[in-house]
Symmetry: D2
């Protein structure tokens, strides 16, 4: 249950109330104090005069719920805003892994040349096998930061585990929590304490309920800049790498107030259908797309089969723009 | 392996060759004779002079493969053609179940008033529980046939099992093989012997390979009018009824020459997101959409939660048209 | 809801009551008449004096429920009984497909030599691809019937679709409804009208609820001789062919009154672990095991990888006997 | 590829070779030096005289493979050994969460009174929702350590994320890596550097290949004390919490040399069938069982529905002993 106190209640008084009811969390926003309780089912008699508004929830979906806030949250990424009433669909591109200065500079050049604003690139790769390329780590983060300085781009990169979450927070404009790290409370709690946008990927074995609950970890800890990212779930089908769950996206759009970015590259796992899937995603009126592209996919150190060439990425952008426009959105 | 004989080979001679190599099937189309063998891996020496062209396949995908025929097959539904180079996306609507003359007349009126051509309605419902409504059976088929006569509409209805497949074949313009009946060889073989379009739904536990193989049953038996229909697969996610597999659709579009119709109603199972999902489907450049609509969903005898009202169906049509146009298709 | 009428109520009077309340089914067993209604939630006032006992159910599990009948049903297979208090675990063996008289005679010899009673063998193979071996059909059924006559064995074979269900009913002692045919109402309804045991396999994409509901089709139609068979469900794991669902078996044992036979051969799909899985199955106190064995697995026309050799089958029997005994059961 | 050097090669020389071939890892065990390379596919000409034996592997299964070491690894837990030729099945019991000194003392008493040796209890609960009980953390670890001192028991507890992995390593005799943390390289790498047994749980959306690869992270880093734990995978079935994958266990027993402990409590999620499932597990000849039990399940702070009462736990032990004996194992 969430209680919104009268604006006449001071911060100190609010803190006292929170303590008395063993509140889960209290959030101070100017004169507006929100108290989240995980045990209360109704407003206690003695608090009724102090509470302006209250929301009771089910299934542990609270702050992310449209019942709590009907409008999609706005998220700022550099000078750009997505969510809210913006009708912006941000197209984020870049390689699976940052591999070298030369490579990431070509990628940054691509993004810049298309009038886009945000570059992706993995530094800590959550590779399942110890015998595969694990990413450049901190060195990669610094290459991304260099791209931000030189090209004025925002950058997004993935945190793999809690041991390097502070490094990623420091160097990245959007913190990406990967599908395999989605339940990691070390990461979730660290991301709850910052004020930067967090892109939370759905685990491939994760239910929609668990997915939203992981977002609640960040929201309830004080960071309201959470973006949900669907990237395909694991099903019995093996001709494609994963199954992009657009029914789930419809559910999330209906029930949560969080912006949604989709990642068709990881879902399909093959270049051939990514443009078509990207069109399908954009037609749903989403807040963004994450697309893998590499200057030369044939030599990529990870996920070679699913990265587009730069020409294919340009073609994809041209192909999705009319679709976005047809549903009242624009690609930014 | 498929062998295309010289056009100089007579039908009688072709039949003799087919017998000699224990062919699986022979298809005579004018002067062009195609022999399908399931055992041959290369053209026997003595036949080389008689064979014009040959195709070797893997994974039991043969006649449905783009390697065999690159272009999407054309299918005629009444006066309308889908597939080929038509860039038509047929919008098929109607109730989950035919319930009464009055109800199906309202449905036919809706379809007609929107300039559409094809009406759906279930007569043999594949309900899992014996204690649920099972459909009107033959009486329903006759109501559909009446709609064809009175309104000039094409009709599509589902065959549930082999006991009534001939009745459906007789009364329906498109034979729908439902998700639960997809492996039924009694039905597949009956549909292989006719020349009417067959809409084959993917089972919710069916791999893409098995799905195409079921289509091969019909194709290899002599009916080349097969449409594939994805309607959602069963995954661990329970907030939605099924998971619409658009990655699978991308795979089918890339590898098979069969037209594809999508059914977002059964996939999601709830009215709220069907319009958005329909937009996503249409953006992929598909051959058709199957949407459930009922004059009064609140009293529907089956699938009440997922049927649109007639106003919602009209709104959906208006909403998907610009999306179809943005990818070069038109809703028909 | 199920109503058990007073034994003083005549059959004619019972039939009239059934008609008045639009009963789903009425079953006459001696002087005991059971009426099943799918709409009633409580006994109507005017019937209270005529009803001895009544059961209200949920989720469409009625006759199969332990609430309706606490004790596991007894099923007779030839001279043998399973279920009830028998603590018998029947071991059924034989090839995936009946291929020839010679082969099936060897199989019958194996079963006989081990003191077992029941031979399996497929005649109508539900092969997904039209280009694979489809079974010997009626000829196979006759070979099985010959084994019954010559060796006094019971035989079990699978019905693939409704077109040959009567042939299978005529020639087989247990009618096996395969995983792909489980929703086929043409088959279910035909099996409801007979008095022979029916082994109903769970579809690989079928929920436990749907599985029990399919059994209800047979039970509610008047045949109370239904055995459930778990044979593996389809999951994301591909190292094994399917995933044997023993959690599901625990659920069925707890909630239904139907005997359970398990099929580890189809679940795993590889010879190597079948003996270990068979031990696991037997340890749960089940009513039977279905194991594929072939005189020479290397030349089997279907499922070659999962069929045991006859020596391996003998070893399996020896290995599971002490396990069965350790839980109070015996292999028969 | 793994190279076993001649025993005449010194440690210094081995290190030089490892550097030259850019080896992934080198392990010194007495005079036996093992070099793991992720790129080599055959022994380089110049090394042939220095290499005694070599193994090439596929699918990134190397040190865990039975090709590398045929015999199941032995693991010491306190004075007890499992794996190898011991035919021991360790029964580990205790509550889902450590809740208080009083509670954990009762649990320790239970374990002790049954002649068992190892107590489980969660301190860092990987709860998906931030609004649920999260565990006692370090305080819980200290309570477990107290039980070790007072009762001479070994203790096992779960690490949730990399932020507290050192605390768990310090206080626990077996480090449990939970299903949600299985991909966490911060944890895997920390566990690779120690010499304590690690129980690695399979993620509920994790393939067998990924599961073994995660074990390779620990093995290849130098800790050869890894136990695999299957605890149920996520499937479409919702009547049970997860689906215990015994086909997967058969695969792991066949292909890997790692001991296997099973967790039927989390798989089923309900008390009623845990004893039967435990019998099934034990019948496969496994190295251990993890069973949740609580002094009073009705007041448990987590997983209340699946924890056994102490009486039920005792009954379970009595029930599984004859099954273990029937396959040549003993419960310890």
């Amino acid at each position: 249950m969430i209680l919104k106190l009268n604006t006449s209640i001071s911060q100190a008084e609010a803190a006292k109330i929170a303590e008395e009811i063993k509140a889960f969390h209290i959030s101070y926003q100017g004169s507006e104090h929100l108290i989240t309780s995980s045990s209360l089912k109704e407003v206690p008699e003695e608090l009724k005069s102090k509470v302006d508004q209250n929301w009771v929830f089910q299934n542990d979906m609270q702050l992310a719920s449209r019942e709590f806030q009907a409008k999609t949250r706005e998220i700022k990424i550099g000078d750009l805003t997505i969510g809210g009433d913006t009708n912006n669909t941000i197209l984020i591109g870049g390689p699976c892994s940052v591999e070298s200065l030369e490579q990431i500079q070509e990628s940054a050049g691509l993004i810049k040349s298309l009038g886009l604003t945000t570059l992706r690139g993995g530094c800590y790769k959550p590779r399942t096998s110890p015998y595969s390329f694990q990413g450049l780590g901190l060195e990669g983060l610094k290459l991304l930061a260099k791209m931000r300085e030189e090209h004025g781009l925002s950058v997004i990169t993935e945190v793999r585990d809690a041991t390097h979450v502070q490094d990623v927070i420091e160097h990245s404009d959007i913190i990406q929590i990967g599908a395999k790290a989605m339940y990691d409370q070390g990461i979730l709690r660290a991301c709850a304490k910052i004020k930067k946008p967090v892109l939370l990927k759905r685990g491939f074995g994760t239910t929609l309920q668990e997915f939203v609950q992981a977002a609640e970890f960040i929201l309830s800890g004080g960071n309201d800049q959470v973006i949900l990212c669907e990237r395909g779930i694991r099903t019995f089908e093996t001709k494609t790498r994963f199954t992009l769950d657009l029914c789930g996206v419809a559910y999330l759009q209906e029930h949560t107030n969080l912006p949604i970015i989709l990642d068709p590259s990881h879902a399909l796992g093959y270049r051939y259908g990514i443009e078509k899937l990207a069109k399908a995603c954009v037609a749903m009126g989403i807040d963004g797309l994450l697309i893998e592209a590499h200057p030369d996919p044939s030599v990529a150190k990870s996920d070679a089969a699913q990265q587009l060439s730069h020409d294919q990425f340009k073609a994809l952008k041209s192909a999705i723009e009319p679709v976005a426009n047809s549903v009242g959105y624009k690609i930014v």
